[in-house]
Symmetry: C2
Subunit: 232 residues, 2 copies
DNA sequence: CGCCGTATTGAGCGCTCTCAAGCTAGGTGG
DNA sequence: CCACCTAGCTTGAGAGCGCTCAATACGGCG
């Protein structure tokens, strides 16, 4: 829970304020919770938002920060299903199963707004433009990680760097940003080992396609990277 | 276009009859098209439903048959994004981009019903239970092919065989069905070559985990297959 | 400043790919 | 009806990409 001022400040910029701000009177959940801040959570790095097998009740809108969703396979490998950044909605994939199939964990300090699914449905019914937006978001998530089907490690990693650059907020320079996840996380998402990720990043750096120093990265030759990634 | 009798016969069993049958009077599209059959298409094997870059206007409900969606990468490889069977809806992933990003092709003789997206939105707004069902379907598609993140070829193929068995209609015997796609298609979906698919199927057969004769397959030891696939 | 998780780099191995040669099944035409 | 024909499937041998294991370097945080 965070203080009211910080909350309302954030909410004005949030695409999902209709879910949180009491403009939409008919939602009984709003009436029971006269302060929207009550639905907001702050997560520290590595803190868990939900576990698999938790009963599905809420979607989560990311106000600030970054999360990953993953599950652990029989051999103990962490298989990352997706990364979620500011403005993304978490939990759509859970609707059909009724419980969370994955764990969701904060990669950095993160603020999320909890949206009870029942209210979500109600609000969609009342608000056609919001409904259209949600279909848009879900459609976008259906296309997430399309590059995972690429054959080589280089292709997938190149496409990944471009994907992240479009979804994260840039630093000072265009196409420069901070990777919120570890090499291991990148590998667990791209089906590569951390070593392979590191090796290919070094190779991109050597070829002056990117500048990289630990988490800080800048794409120097976007066209070249797109060529490798096989993205138009 | 097919004859009225055959059409209405099919529609009664279809979850999406609300989109097609004139029970829902307010949809002006229904009023302009007094015969639902006009929206139905028959596709022969290998016939194309839509191409990439075609403007997105319609969703497609599969009445009968099987399709694949794919795109061709820079090296000419066909990368298959998904297989779609009877009862599935095609086109959700296209909502956000405004045009079809993939090609959709029939694997076998197929019947689809065309659902104009504008009418779809209208109908969702009028029909809360349908809206819930659509969210359910999209959520399901978000989880499709979760096993593609598995590491080994055996894992992915084992999971694939189980997935398909659950989505296709069984033949005479439980867990026996006809694979609607080629070895090459399976490989293009699972990121394997046709040779590797063939080799592993032969190996499963040798180990009496499955019975397989060309397209006809029967799962003999489901538990064993689940173990390999790392599925609970 | 020292610790420990994370990242980098190297050497060797193995799974899957490539290339190639038979084999099978289903469709076509004589 | 059967011989052919072709696309798809199977199987084998060898090569290469990415993995495993290992050692070193870095960097964030106490």
């Amino acid at each position: 829970m965070i203080d009211q001022d910080q909350n309302s400040q954030n909410c004005e910029q949030c695409d999902f304020s209709p879910f949180c701000i009491a403009e939409n009177k008919p939602v009984h959940w709003m009436q029971e919770n006269n302060a929207a801040a009550k639905q907001q959570f702050q997560l520290k790095k590595n803190e868990v938002l939900y576990f698999p097998q938790n009963t599905f009740r809420n979607l989560y809108a990311i106000q600030q920060g970054n999360l990953k969703t993953y599950h652990i396979d029989a051999d103990g490998n962490e298989l990352i299903k997706g990364f979620y950044f500011k403005g993304d909605i978490l939990g759509f994939e859970t609707i059909y199963s009724g419980h969370y199939l994955l764990s969701a964990v904060a990669l950095t300090p993160t603020v999320v707004c909890e949206i009870p699914y029942d209210n979500f449905l109600e609000l969609l019914q009342l608000n056609p433009s919001l409904q259209k937006y949600v279909l848009y978001l879900m459609s976008q998530q259906l296309n997430a990680g399309f590059y995972l089907s690429s054959v080589t490690a280089e292709q997938r990693l190149a496409a990944f760097l471009i994907d992240i650059s479009l979804r994260l907020e840039p630093l000072d320079t265009p196409l420069s940003y901070l990777l919120p996840m570890s090499r291991q996380d990148m590998g667990n998402y791209l089906r590569l080992t951390a070593e392979t990720v590191s090796r290919i990043l070094s190779q991109f750096k050597k070829n002056k396609i990117i500048m990289i120093d630990n988490k800080k990265i800048q794409i120097l030759r976007l066209e070249q990277l797109k060529l490798i990634a096989d993205i138009p």
